[in-house]
Each structure stands twice: as C-alpha cells, then as structure tokens.
C-alpha cells in the first residue's frame, strides 16, 4: 500500500529529483529524495535508509552470552539500550525471572544515564542550532560550533550534561561506549563508595540544568506557537511501555497504545507476545522496515514511539519536577493529544529531567553497593526483551538451542517503529513549505528539521542487507579487484 506523496502518480522523466544526501546532524546513514515537476509541485518524498548490516543473521550461531556485547555495535549512540534489551531477553532464557535488587538498580542507573546523555546530545549538539538560529539560517553557523560562539553557556551545559550521563554509564558498564556491565541474569559489578560519591557530587547541578533545558524549549513553543504547533504536524497512534500502574518507566513494564484521539488501543500487554501485535512491511526503496499494528493493517495501524508518545501515554511521571513539567505540557495542548513534530523536543527535555531525578534517587539507594549480582533458574529456549530506548520502544527477540547457540534473532529498533512517522513528517513539511517554491538550501533544511525531531538513529535501524540489480567492482588503491557487489 502507498501513502500520499509516497509514490508519484506518473513515474516520469519530466520530474526533477532533488536529494538531501546525507541527512546531517542525525545519527546514521539516510537520504531524502524529492520529485518535483516544472512548477515545483511536489510529487514524491521519501526518506531512504541506505545502509545495511546483517546483525540479525550473523548473531545466529553465536553463544548467547556474547550477544549483549555484540549487539551494542549496532549503535554507538545508545549502545546501552541494545546491551540491556538483549540482557532482558536473555534473562528469560536463563530463567532469571527476578533479578537481585543490586542488579536491577545497576541496570536502571545505567539506562537512565544513557537517556540523559543521549537526550542531551540530541537536543544540544544536534537540534539546538535549528531552534536557536532558525531553520534557514546560514549553513556555516548551523551547528554546535555556532551555538558555542553565540550561546556559550547553553553549549557548555549541553556538553556537561552529556558528559555526566556518559560517566554514569562508565561507572555502571565499565566503559563509556560499548561497556560490558550487564550479563544474562544480572550484572557483573556494583557501585563502589567512591563511584557513588563522585556521581552524587554533580547530580543536583544536572537536575537544575535539565530544568533550564525544559524551560528553553517550552519558551520557544510559547513564543511561536504558529510554527511549533503546526510544523510537520499530523495525527497518529502512539505506543510505549509504562509501569503496571500506568506511570512512566523506561526500563521495564507493559505495552500500551493510544489512538490519535487519545483512546486506549491496548494496555497491560506482556511484551513477550509483541509479535502477535506487530507486523513489519518491506518497501523496495528503503532497507528499514515499516511496522504496524497487525489488527489495524498498514494504512491505519502505524504508530509513533519515543518521547512524544511516552510523555502522553503515561498517566504520571514518578519524579516531582518532571511530573510538574508533564502537567504543563498536557495543559498547553488543552488536554488533547499533541501531535506536533516539534513537540518531540519538549517531551524529550521532560524525559531528560526525569532521568536526572531518577539517577539522583537511585544513587541514594544502598542496594547499588550490594554483592549479590546474578541469578539463574529454569533454562528456556526463547525470550523477548523490551526497553524504552532514548528514541522509543526497542524489541529484542532470541531463540537459543540446547547447545547455547542462538538460532533466531529478531530486532525491531526504536527508529524503525518511527519509520512511517518520519516519512509522514517529511511529506507534511514538503506540502507546507516546499510545494510550488524555488527550492533553496534553507527550505531543504526544513525537511531535515522534521527528521531530527525524531532523533532517528539511522545507524541501528539498518541491520539488514539489500540487493541491487546492477554490478559494481571494487578496486584497491593499486587497481586490483577486491570485491564485486552482489548480483541478483
């Protein structure tokens, strides 16, 4: 099936192609193509994911305990998400139905450290140039360097918020990027008194700066509602995980979805059964699949995940400052669901504050210093692990044989869940801003602004491999043939 502006009605030579390649200030490898006629009317817009990896396939045959360390290499921006989603799936396999308090809290701390660093990176390093300077401001200034020159305080706080999150990860996982702290059934280290003291020293500053960050984005919305409410806005379903009591929990819980009007579609779903809910469609022009709720079909059943979905899916946030900000957010939207693409940034900063407050609470918990790290129980052959990664719901599903080797792996990464949403957003922006106009660099950046709101990690969305009808030959520096591409 095809959506409006997905496929030009007349495939033709008389349409002009404009490409944004690569999409920048996002993580990963993607490009946008736009087909226009001689009056600059937009006929087709597509966000293509152009990279391929093959992780799901080459994990097969590996011993299961290697998996949490291997799968991190899908994505260096939120490696902790993959590390933990895989560990949670393997908890099921080793029969660890209940982790020790030390293990559960160390993992939570690691995860909220990551939410903090990733949200800070995304907001300050990648998106703030658009929001602070304007979508069509000068290219040379539209980056974190430009922000550091004009708003040195904002840039510095962004850098230090990210640094703090990375330090939480280092103390829990052993390393800032691609650590090894989580293992099937638990963790392999607890927190020393020195590590705890070091992290506690700065946490109040991080909470204060996170509150300021929410203020920055809230004020941007309030100053220019015409732009912030309308830019790339479209209705959709929302999905995310919540705690069993309906409050926000990014580490563990049950699945809940709401429709565009805010009515519950499903709730309290055990994620071990995720595959009865979701089907994935493949389109010929992207390596990233398009998931949808099976019961509703591809046209009605696609959905959004991530901060905008989560902040509106939950009934409350369990930390005081973030809960206060959630209520402001809900009030701003007049009690109706907010569907604005730029609302993602606001929701993201509320979550960053939630992460900072949660880290503070965890650091006061003596269980972090415990020595009971790993449990095991009845061995199983299949397990699903789900986590709310910075960009949204992340599914890891494995089957393991009696010989401990993985026989099947299926991953639905956060950005894949938002694939249709990102395509809808760029089409909406093309209709609002590009249609009939002379295309300029500044206008094209509007398309990227919409993509950046989702903070796509196109890097980890591309664990598959593609096939092309042509053939290329790869020659080395000396002109010898190294490889030929796959020929159909």
């Amino acid at each position: 099936m095809s959506f409006e502006l997905e496929t030009a009605a007349v495939a033709g030579e008389n349409l002009r192609r404009v490409a944004i390649d690569p999409v920048s200030r996002v993580e990963g490898h993607g490009k946008v193509t736009i087909l226009l006629d001689e009056h600059n009317k937009v006929h087709q817009v597509r966000l293509h994911i152009v990279e391929f990896r093959g992780f799901e396939r080459f994990i097969q045959g590996r011993p299961y305990w290697e998996v949490p360390v291997m799968v991190q290499r899908l994505c260096g921006i939120c490696p902790v998400s993959h590390h933990l989603a895989a560990s949670k799936a393997l908890d099921v396999i080793v029969g660890a139905d209940r982790l020790t308090p030390t293990a559960e809290k160390m993992r939570r701390l690691m995860h909220y450290g990551q939410i903090l660093q990733s949200h800070a990176l995304h907001f300050f390093h990648l998106s703030s140039p658009d929001l602070l300077f304007g979508f069509d401001s000068e290219v040379s200034r539209r980056n974190i360097v430009g922000v550091a020159e004009k708003y040195p305080d904002i840039a510095r706080r962004g850098i230090l918020l990210r640094k703090y999150g990375q330090e939480v990860i280092r103390h829990t996982a052993g390393k800032r990027v691609h650590g090894t702290g989580s293992v099937p059934g638990g963790v392999n280290k607890s927190l020393t008194a020195a590590e705890r003291a070091e992290l506690l020293k700065d946490v109040y500053q991080m909470i204060a700066w996170s509150r300021d960050a929410v203020k920055i984005i809230k004020e941007l919305h309030e100053q220019n509602p015409a732009l912030y409410d309308r830019f790339g806005t479209f209705p959709s379903n929302f999905m995310g995980m919540v705690a069993p009591d309906g409050s926000l929990d990014l580490y563990h819980g049950v699945l809940r979805a709401k429709d565009a009007a805010g009515n519950i579609l499903f709730d309290h779903v055990d994620y071990q059964t995720y595959d009865t809910l979701i089907t994935e469609e493949v389109k010929p022009w992207s390596y990233m699949k398009f998931p949808y709720f099976t019961s509703m079909g591809p046209e009605q059943g696609w959905y959004r995940v991530g901060p905008l979905a989560r902040v509106q899916n939950c009934d409350s946030i369990p930390t005081p400052f973030a809960e206060h900000e959630r209520r402001e957010f809900v009030a701003y939207a007049g009690g109706k669901p907010m569907h604005a693409t730029l609302g993602y940034h606001w929701a993201r900063m509320i979550e960053m504050l939630f992460a900072a407050e949660t880290i503070k609470e965890l650091l006061h918990d003596d269980a972090l210093a415990g020595s009971d790290l790993v449990v095991a129980g009845e061995r199983r052959h299949e397990g699903v692990g789900v986590i709310e990664a910075p960009r949204g719901t992340l599914f890891h599903h494995y089957q393991v044989g009696d010989d401990d080797l993985v026989t099947m792996a299926n991953l639905i990464v956060s950005t894949t869940n938002n694939n249709q949403a990102m395509n809808s957003a760029v089409r909406e922006v093309a209709k609002q801003y590009l249609d009939g106009k002379e295309i300029t660099e500044g206008l094209l950046n509007h398309i990227e602004v919409a993509i950046r709101a989702y903070d796509p990690c196109l890097s980890c969305a591309t664990h598959a491999l593609g096939k092309m009808p042509l053939e290329v030959t790869l020659l080395d520096a000396g002109g010898r043939m190294l490889d030929r591409k796959y020929k159909s």
């Binding site: 152009v50 469609e281 591809p298 490889d483």
Partner: protein, 190 residues
C-alpha cells in the same frame, strides 16, 4: 585524562577537519565527543568541514580526515575516495575502519542468504515481502572491507571505540605538527 594540552596561538590558521561514518555505528564519533569540554579549546584550533555534526554534505580540501567504519557498499567507496582526494592526512578511526570490525562478521556468509532471511523469511514480516531493490539504495558489496584496502591510510587508531582520551592525545600531537604516538593505557584493542 591525558595530559596533552593545546596552547593557543601557536598556528595562525585553523586546521580543517572532516569526519565521516561509513559502515560504523557512530560509537567512534561518540568517543570523539567524549573529549567533553576539551572540545571548546579544540574549536579554537580546528574548523569542521563535512561531518555528521555540520550541514556540509561534501568534503572540501582538509588537513585531517577521520574515517569511522569499514566499507560495505559502493557509496562508502565513493565517499572514502572523496576523503582521500581532499584530506592531507587520513586516519582510520576505530576497529571497523582498521579491519572491518563487527560488521565484517557477515563476511563468512552469503549475501543472498542474509537478504533472503531478513526480508523474505524473517520473523513477523508482512505477506509477500520482497528484498528492497530501488536504484536510490547504494550497491552493497559481498564483503565488508577495511578502509586501507581501498585507499592509502596515514594513521590507524585502534579500539572499539578508541577512548576520548586516546583521540584527544592523538589529535593534539597531530595539530602541533608531531607524529602522534599513544602512550600506555591509550592504545587498546577491543
């Protein structure tokens, strides 16, 4: 933390630095950002050309090029050659660029089989799913290659990823015009 520092005012001209992720996971770029607030003095000495953190889409003439990731498709080859042609010094940053890294684990498998499994017979796919084949998608190579197999590389910085401190020590020496060496604790293979 590495003891290297950057004294301001030593070189008159800012050095141009370009960075790219080929078949990598962006972890090496994240590790670069793990130099944390040291990025601020660095920015007094260097200027970024094409990089995931700027909106410059093609590499122009540069002093230093940092390549993350190996080569897995025709597009990677093209970008890598563009970097070699434009950068005076080209650096393979991290295990994937140095030797293909984890993505090269697909090298012992048949590409056709992987495609078949991921897009046709995989778990939870819609009926009739086909392997993507649009001309907008770059041509995949049968194998993932290290970058030095395709172009000449001046320096190799191992690690998955190399630490922020290692990247800092390496760059500060290079910027001062020395041949970089990494001391104890900075050179890692993981």
């Amino acid at each position: 933390m590495s003891s290297e520092t950057l004294d301001a005012g030593m070189t008159p001209r800012k050095l141009k630095v370009a960075t790219v992720s080929l078949a990598g996971c962006f972890g090496c770029h994240m590790s670069f950002l793990d130099i944390d607030e040291r990025i601020l003095p660095l920015l007094e000495r260097v200027e970024f050309d094409r990089s995931p953190i700027t909106d410059i889409k093609h590499c122009g003439p540069c002093d230093i090029g940092l390549i993350e990731g190996g080569v897995c498709n025709a597009e990677n080859v093209h970008v890598l050659r563009e970097f070699r042609a434009n950068c005076k010094v080209l650096i393979a940053l991290g295990a994937c660029a140095v030797n293909g890294g984890l993505p090269a684990q697909r090298n012992h498998l048949e590409l056709a089989d992987i495609l078949q499994q991921v897009y046709r017979t995989g778990h939870g796919l819609a009926e009739g799913s086909q392997i993507p084949n649009d001309p907008e998608l770059p041509l995949p190579l049968n194998q993932v290659h290290a970058v030095h197999e395709v172009v000449r590389i001046d320096y190799f910085l191992p690690g998955c990823p190399p630490s922020g401190d290692a990247i800092w020590a390496f760059l500060t020496q290079l910027i001062k015009g020395r041949a970089p060496t990494l001391g104890h604790g900075l050179l890692q293979y993981d």
